[in-house]
Amino acid sequence: MAEFLDLEAQDAVRMSWNVVPGTKQDSSHCGVVPIAAVYTPLKPFPSMPVLPYAALRCRNCRSVLNPFSVVDFVAKLWICPFCLQRNHFPTHYHSISDQNLPAELFPQYTTIEYESPSEKSTVPPVFFLVVDTCLIEEELGFLRSAVSQAVGLVPENSLVGLITFGTYVYVHELGFGQIPKVYVFRGSKEVTKDQVIEQMGFFAKRPKPASGVIAGVRDGLSQETIARFLLPASECEFAINSILEELQKDPWPVPPDQRATRCTGMALSVAAHLLGTCVPGSGARIIGFVGGPTTDGPGAIVSKNLSEPVRSHKDLDKDSAPYFHKAVKFYEGLAKQLVHQGHVLDIFACALDQVGVAEIKVAVERTGGLVVLSESFGHSVFKDSLKRVFQSGDYDLDLSSNGIFEVNCSKDIRVQGIIGPCASLEKKGPLCSETVVGQGSTSAWKMCGLDKATSLCLVFEIVKKEIPEAIGQSANNQFYFQFLTYYQHHSGQMRLRVTTLSRRWVAGPGSIQDLIAGFDQEAAAAVMARLVSFKMETEAEFDPIRWLDKSLIHLCTRFGDYQKDSPSSFSLSPRFSIFPQFMFHLRRSQFVQVFNNSPDETAYFRMILNRENVANSVVMIQPSLISYSFHSSPEPALLDVAAIAADRILLLDSYFTIVVFHGSTIAQWRKAGYHNQPEHVVFAQFLQAPQDDANAIIKERFPVPRLVICDQHGSQARFLLAKLNPSATYNSDVPAPEREILFTDDVSFEVFLDHLQRLAVQ
């Protein structure tokens, strides 16, 4: 495992198979776990150099000079490892020699950045706030202060715009002269960008360019006009605050048997039009604050009538959610527009009911937006997450924008696609596989928004058919991958990060051990989780449990060590040993067991999954459990109901939720207030330790997880119990008296494993 982490530390890449099956046939033997890489393009590397010049590219395949290139110092040539093209070094490389290498050729700098000083965006980051007003007073108050605080945190030069919405969409003109102005759009009727341009008088004072208007300064839009709606934070903070101060609950009456009229889709669409008009191509984020379901206009997810419930997974399965597809289609359109403009959509959804995240998902994901789901604008999940977006300092998100991600790889490899927050740029080429997974059929993707944690999952396919003789001997049994990420750093500079990888490939019957050695079970689990989620969303009639089981059995059959038909003889290499456990928990996770959750929640979980790195993904699949006791230092515990003990504290990290669970004895002591007594300092420290650890996790994570502090037998304990392996249930044979049992019919891991072994050896 450690070597995989090392590799990740160098290149921010985890691959499911680090030794690649060299042929199509071999790869098919690898079962359903695809050859995939989870790559975090902007993972910070303190030691990574940033080169102040433009990258040198192969004139044939446009790949960038890298440590795997073969360099002929005499002839001043380098050979591209991808296409074997020989390239002359340009004149400024003339001093190159084996003693005098440019940084990009240093073997340790397989990941490096270029920053060309001339390319700098002139437009500072833009934040367009879109605020729901169909809220009860209390929520509105929370939201008001949160937004106001956020505006205070925005860097002074960042541009800020504001839209509020309810029944109508109110676009606030912040740069008002004499009078505060608001443009009001009807929520129920879609408008086009051209209509917005015309109706809001963007070209009122000068002729509108004939055709093909995207707008922005380039198309003749005056800075002054733009400044009506987008103003540097330092200039508009007062205006925004006074607007927020007066922000009233949407004044249109809501009959008691109806939902408020809320036109979220329209509001987001207008925001997109405005940004597209004012700052196309510059880094800009639409930050939507949504407090309830969209009931009007495009993107509506439910009717106003309260007697009609918001769609559930069941409705979606039965295709009886009348609004769903229409709404998704609308957001797909919005996503397309935003991607085209290079803008990001972030959603902060806070409501007890669903708000339509499932529908908005497509727009958020394609643009690389952030999403936070909480039950109230007063909840710390929302408040702290929002702060994190704007905060600068140790835990900032390093929000970057306008990224373009490209892949180069050796000719025998094809890219099926990317599962993750990006959108295809539809750059088709020989690299593209015919099988499409996620955003496929392209070798370039747009990442409108990306931050230091954003991780893409690339799925590859091996197309080499024949097994050349003497594989082993072949000098060139390496596959090369190069990931190019061109993005706008939050400083405004355009940068290019290049990661070049080389992986050995093996082929033939004797290669199994090699493959096993290269198997990264965590990465594989993360990939499987993304893949199963993707399939569930896109393939009708898909049975995820069955598919996962089959995959696992297949994998075990191929890579397990056993005698046929003897389950007891079955064993797995340590490289695979915990993979079944991951699969077990994945089967029980929120990604697969959707019926415990609303479609909004599922969409939310998946969006986070799809943008997280391997480590975090694994936590989502199989939460980590740490046990604290007086007797020993904190130690990881089995994620099993057996871990519960009266005199222990458990810390469960399931990524979205962090649970501090006090055993019943501890809970009693705490209730008795011992920790407040000076003679029980140790107890106080003991109590505090898991919470400190929890806070440490919370600080680093985005979205901020929900912290649940609970006691054994308490109602909140369900957050822990749901995640535990039900090794002891109410119908277990020997329930020990003081052992905790779970009320579930789920099979326990032991049972699961038994079956797996039995099936694998058949």
Binding site: I179, K181, V182, Y183, R186, S242, P251
Partner: protein, 1137 residues
């Protein structure tokens, strides 16, 4: 022959006197005097100077008197809130009244004087009174003075020159008689008739100003006395001066038989005597054919003769005095005179020469206030002319201000009506302003049960319901059904068959009462008074200053709106988008923030989607005035600067109206729109492409003022499509009334826009070309009058008629959803509806036929009221009665409106033809069945309708029927006419013109309005300055060789090169200027209209404009008055078997 001349003048005066027109009349009179002379000259030896000399004076005298009238009338209308009188008159509106006066000079702009003047005297009354006082003394003097002046220059010369042909002695004679008669006619006569004493008196009475006031305050009764005495005096004086001629005058005043003219007069006098008046008169007329203006009629009759005389203006024409002259003898009858020569007529030219232009019938102003009792001796009295100054005492019939019928006797059969060629229609002005001296309308509260009504026809209880069976039952005078009297409403009958309590119960003794409506009459709670202002801020509007003018006007007007929680206001501006303002927010902000530097202005909510508009907030767009006054003011001050660099050229009128409507939908109310730029119809169309194409073509045509196919020209006068109509109906349904102020310098398609105001009970104000300099004041005053005049909301009106007659159709500004009722989102004191009637059965001769107009409305104070006006008129089967009881003004108003209705759907030539035929048919019928004429060569006119030809001529030459007018002007004219009241109809086609260069020399007696001059260019001298007004526009014409001194003094202009196109009347520090201002303000007060002032000089388009009002002139497209009479005569001749 001669008679004609004589008679005519006389006759004219009488008729007219009554009306406000008086002024105009005066002028005429003056001229006439002159005229007569001329005729005299012609006829005989040059002169029977005496007559002339005399005549003039009389006129002059009459003039003054008339002038005094005008004032009175003025008083009545605008009502400078005579505290006492004003208030009382209308219980409902008291407050308003006070503030109402539109005329008020705009603070800033107009010299304070006018207003100042009024206000000070608490009541306008007082002021007027004082003026009266002043006059009385002077009258005598004035007359002379003035007459000389006027007549001197004008008349004489012309006459002399013309004298060519002549008129046989007859003429002279006629003239002579005429002379006398005229005088008599001179208003005085009229008054004398019945109430005459009083009226005349009143006129004169003025002197004792105070008394006047008091009189006024106290209804007629009080007043009369005063006047009476006064009158005598005054009258005498007038009369006296012109001894010889005077006789006539004197006669008139007293009602005594005039001397020479006496015989004719005598007849009239007789008429006079009989209080019942009309009937007696009637007979005579019949005999004679002449006719009848029975009421005044008597007088009229007398007068008639004179009218007849008038004739020949014409160009150089020779005068054929006789034409008109003829019939003097049958004084009673009428007047027609034209006669001269039919034969000659044949050759029209020749004819004209024989007509003495100075003797043609012209309106004569009445000089005194007339006291009118609506019924006397259980008979309906003929109402005074609508334009006269009169005080009504409601003695059973509704005041003619509210209800006027074209004929004051109802023909028993439809055949009879058809034979007469006359129209049967009612002019209904349900909230008309009362004279300040009239008793207020009584409000009756029947409590829970509501007003007593007929259970079958739902007619309201009125004085003509007949109680029987000891009061236990009553017979409905409308449908004839016998109803049970509600128990608690029973009362015994007296010996006369009336209920014993009839005199104590207003609903049983008054023609007009107001009932408190019960819940039954409400669909919802009475609506608040909502005023929503919608202001165009497109580039054009901003640059021409229209926006600034509108904002400033609104800002000032706000303070005139009633205080209190029921008054709500809202405001929005628009260009190609619509901007609402959250007035409530402003309030909060002010209170909460209040720190310096923070913005106190309300939040502007922009609705950018004009294809499909909406209101951006449900509340807070329309707010109680008391809550937002300050902020509203601040906002209005800032709007012009906020948009000062607006470059948006389009204005989305339709969308803006729609959006405002949505904001007002829940309450209804008044939507006041200021529109100036070109508006885009397509903005509200569902199928834009259709609209764009259609409109652009239309716009091109509108601008060039021609339509692709000339024959289809009238299409441009129809709304472009049905969008506005549909919208208007919706607006009306939700009780939104739209008034549109069009301040433009281009074609805006008034025809399309005006559909909305017309359907919603609103009105169009049209300022073209708009000038911020000269129109701002009018804009303000128009707006002020608009919101402060007495008015009602969410009204429904229905007119019921007795069996045998039914309502055929309603015309006016309203929306009609069901056949029987008209919906009026708003109704105000100026709005008049025409109701045409038709027979559905034969009426019994001798019975009475009743008309009842019921208006259910909400007052500005939120009370639901039913105003019920009942008019009961006798039925007759005698044709001549119809002619005698015809109401000229109403009849003409009816013509006018019918023409206006026709214009958009028929080619102009056809409309003109129809109008002419209407006139000719009546005259023909009269000639055929009623007139006793010796010579077929004479044009015989019914006395009551003797001015019909003149007005018809005016109508044919008016903006609406002229081919050379701009499309928009015509559209506006059509729209203006559709709700025009009867008293305003006359000046519209026959404006009042007066000389103002010699104001100071004339006015010795304090008379403010100089005598009117006939609308003929002969009367316009190059060295004079003239003022012409028609109730809407006011032109000041500066002759070419005017003494620069007077222009400087009057207008502040030193040479005629400097004559500005944009003119603002200012008061300079000299008496002349002061008087001019007084005059203008007086006119404003009379007309309830501020008037658009424009300077005109000879030789340019402004001069052309001025001369286009010279109705009596020959124009390229129209006949001169004389020619026209000849034409009419010939037409009649042709029709005669």
């Amino acid at each position: 022959m001669a008679t004609p001349g004589g008679p005519r003048p006389g006759s004219t005066p009488p008729n007219y006197n009554p009306s406000n027109v008086a002024d105009g009349m005066q002028n005429l009179q003056i001229n006439r005097p002159v005229g007569p002379p001329t005729s005299m000259a012609n006829s005989g030896s040059f002169r029977p100077p005496p007559p002339f000399g005399q005549p003039p004076p009389p006129f002059s005298s009459s003039a003054p008197s008339s002038s005094s009238f005008p004032r009175a009338s003025a008083m009545a209308r605008p009502g400078p809130p005579p505290p006492g009188s004003g208030g009382p008159p209308q219980a409902t509106f008291p407050p308003n009244l006070a503030s109402n006066r539109p005329s008020g000079p705009p603070p800033g702009t107009q010299p304070p004087p006018p207003f100042g003047a009024r206000p000070p005297p608490p009541g306008s009354v007082p002021s007027s009174v004082s003026s009266f006082g002043a006059r009385p003394p002077s009258p005598g003097l004035n007359p002379f003075g003035s007459s000389p002046l006027a007549s001197g220059p004008v008349g004489p010369p012309s006459s002399t020159s013309e004298p060519v042909s002549n008129g046989p002695p007859a003429y002279g004679w006629g003239a002579m008689q005429g002379g006398p008669r005229f005088p008599s006619a001179g208003s005085p006569l009229t008054p004398p008739v019945r109430p005459s004493p009083p009226t005349t008196l009143s006129a004169r009475a003025p002197p004792p100003a105070p008394s006047m006031g008091s009189l006024l305050g106290s209804p007629p009764t009080g007043a009369p006395p005063g006047p009476m005495q006064a009158a005598p005096f005054s009258a005498p004086p007038h009369g006296v001066p012109p001894p010889s001629g005077s006789s006539p005058f004197s006669a008139p005043p007293q009602g005594v038989p005039p001397p020479s003219g006496s015989s004719p007069f005598a007849a009239p006098p007789q008429g006079m005597p009989p209080t019942s008046g009309s009937s007696p008169l009637a007979p005579p007329p019949q005999g004679f054919s002449p006719p009848s203006g029975s009421p005044y009629g008597h007088q009229a009759w007398a007068m008639h003769p004179p009218q007849v005389a008038p004739p020949p203006l014409m160009p150089g024409s020779v005068q054929a005095p006789r034409m008109f002259g003829m019939p003097p003898q049958p004084p009673n009858q009428a007047m027609a005179t034209i006669s001269p020569a039919m034969g000659p007529m044949g050759s029209s030219m020749a004819v004209p020469s024989k007509i003495d232009p100075n003797q043609i019938p012209r309106p004569m102003p009445s000089s005194s206030v007339i006291l009118h009792e609506t019924r006397q001796g259980n008979q309906a009295n003929l109402p005074p002319p609508s334009t006269s100054d009169y005080i009504v005492k409601d003695t059973g019939n509704s005041s003619p201000r509210f209800l006027r019928c074209t004929i004051n006797q109802i023909p028993c059969t439809v055949d009879l009506l058809t034979t007469s060629g006359m129209q049967l229609a009612l002019m209904v002005q349900p909230l008309a302003l009362p004279h300040p001296s009239e008793e207020p309308i009584q409000v009756v509260d029947f409590g829970e049960s509501g007003p007593v009504r007929c259970s079958r026809c739902k007619g309201y209880i009125n004085p003509f319901m007949k109680f029987i069976d000891q009061g236990r039952r009553f017979i409905c005078n409308l449908c004839g059904f016998t109803d049970e009297t509600p128990r608690d409403y029973q009362c015994n009958l007296g010996p006369d068959g009336r209920r014993r309590d009839a005199d104590e119960r207003p609903e049983l003794c008054r023609g007009t009462v107001e009932f408190i409506a019960t819940r039954e009459y409400m669909v919802r709670d009475p609506m608040p008074a909502v005023f929503f202002f919608l202001i165009d801020v497109s580039m054009n509007a901003i640059q021409t200053g229209a926006t600034a003018a509108a904002c400033s006007a609104i800002n000032q007007v706000i303070s005139d709106l009633p205080e209190g929680p029921r008054t709500m206001v809202g405001i929005a501006t628009f260009d190609s988008t619509i901007h609402f303002y959250n007035l409530k927010r402003a309030l909060q902000q002010l209170q909460e923030i209040g720190s310096p530097g923070s913005c106190y202005l309300p939040l502007m909510l922009i609705v950018p989607d004009v294809q499909d508009v909406y209101t951006p907030l449900q509340t807070d767009v329309i707010v109680q005035l008391s809550e937002c006054r300050q902020h509203l003011e601040l906002l209005l001050e800032n709007i012009p600067t906020m948009f000062h660099d607006n470059r948006t050229a389009d204005s989305a009128f339709g969308a803006a109206v729609k959006a405002a409507f949505l904001a007002m939908k829940s309450t209804g109310g008044k939507l006041i729109v200021f529109q100036s730029g070109k508006f885009e119809l397509f903005k509200i169309l569902i199928l834009p492409s259709v609209g764009i194409a259609a409109l652009s073509a239309r716009e091109a045509e509108g601008r060039t003022n021609i339509s692709a196919g000339e024959k289809e020209a009238h299409k441009l006068l129809q709304p472009a499509d049905k969008t506005f109509k549909t919208m208007a109906v919706e607006l009306a349904e939700y009780q939104v009334c739209v008034d549109v102020f069009i301040t433009t310098q281009t074609y805006v398609d008034v025809a399309s826009i005006s559909v909305i105001p017309r359907t919603t009970g609103g009105q169009v104000y049209y300022y073209y070309p708009f000038s911020a300099v000269s129109d701002s004041a009018k804009l303000y005053n128009d707006l002020r009058w608009n919101v402060t005049r007495p008015q009602g909301f969410e009204a429904v009106m229905r007119v019921r008629c007795s069996q045998g007659i039914q309502v055929q159709e309603y015309f006016g500004n309203f929306c009609k959803r069901i056949p029987t009722d008209v919906d009026l989102p708003a109704i105000d004191c100026d709005k008049t509806l025409m109701v045409t009637l038709k027979h559905d059965d034969k009426l019994p001769d001798g019975a009475e036929c009743a008309f009842q107009c019921a208006l259910l409305y909400t007052t500005i104070y939120g009370q639901r009221r039913i105003r019920v006006s009942t008019l009961s008129l006798p039925c007759t089967s005698v044709l001549s009665n119809l002619f005698r009881s015809a109401d000229l003004d109403t009849h003409f108003a009816c013509f006018l409106k019918q023409a206006a209705i026709e214009i958009p759907s028929s080619p102009l030539s056809l409309v003109r033809e129809q109008v002419l035929n209407l006139c000719i048919n009546i005259l023909h019928s009269y000639r055929k069945f009623c007139a006793t004429v010796s010579s077929s060569g004479q044009l015989v006119l019914p006395e009551a309708l003797k001015l019909l030809p003149l007005y018809t001529l005016g109508l044919v030459k008016s903006t609406g029927l002229r081919t050379d007018g701009r499309i928009d002007d015509r559209s506006f004219w059509i729209n203006y006419v559709s709700s025009l009241s009867t008293p305003s109809a006359i000046p519209l086609v026959y404006p009042r013109m007066m000389a103002i260069h010699d104001l100071d020399s004339k006015e010795v007696d304090g008379s403010r309005i100089p005598p009117a001059i006939p609308l003929s260019s002969e009367h316009v001298c190059d060295d004079g300055i003239y003022l012409l007004e028609n109730g809407e526009d006011c032109l000041i014409y500066i002759g070419n060789s005017v003494d620069p001194n007077s222009t400087r003094q009057l207008l502040g202009i030193s040479s005629d090169d400097e004559i500005p196109t944009q003119f603002l009347l200012q008061q300079y520090d000299n008496p002349l200027s002061k008087k001019l201002n007084d005059v203008v303000n007086e006119i404003r007060r009379q007309r309830c209209s501020y008037l658009r002032l424009k300077l005109c000089k000879k030789g340019d388009s402004s001069g052309m404009l001025f001369f286009s009002y010279m109705v009596e002139d020959k124009t390229p497209s129209g006949l001169s008055y004389v020619e026209f009479l000849v034409h009419v005569h010939r037409q009649i001749q042709n029709k005669m078997p």
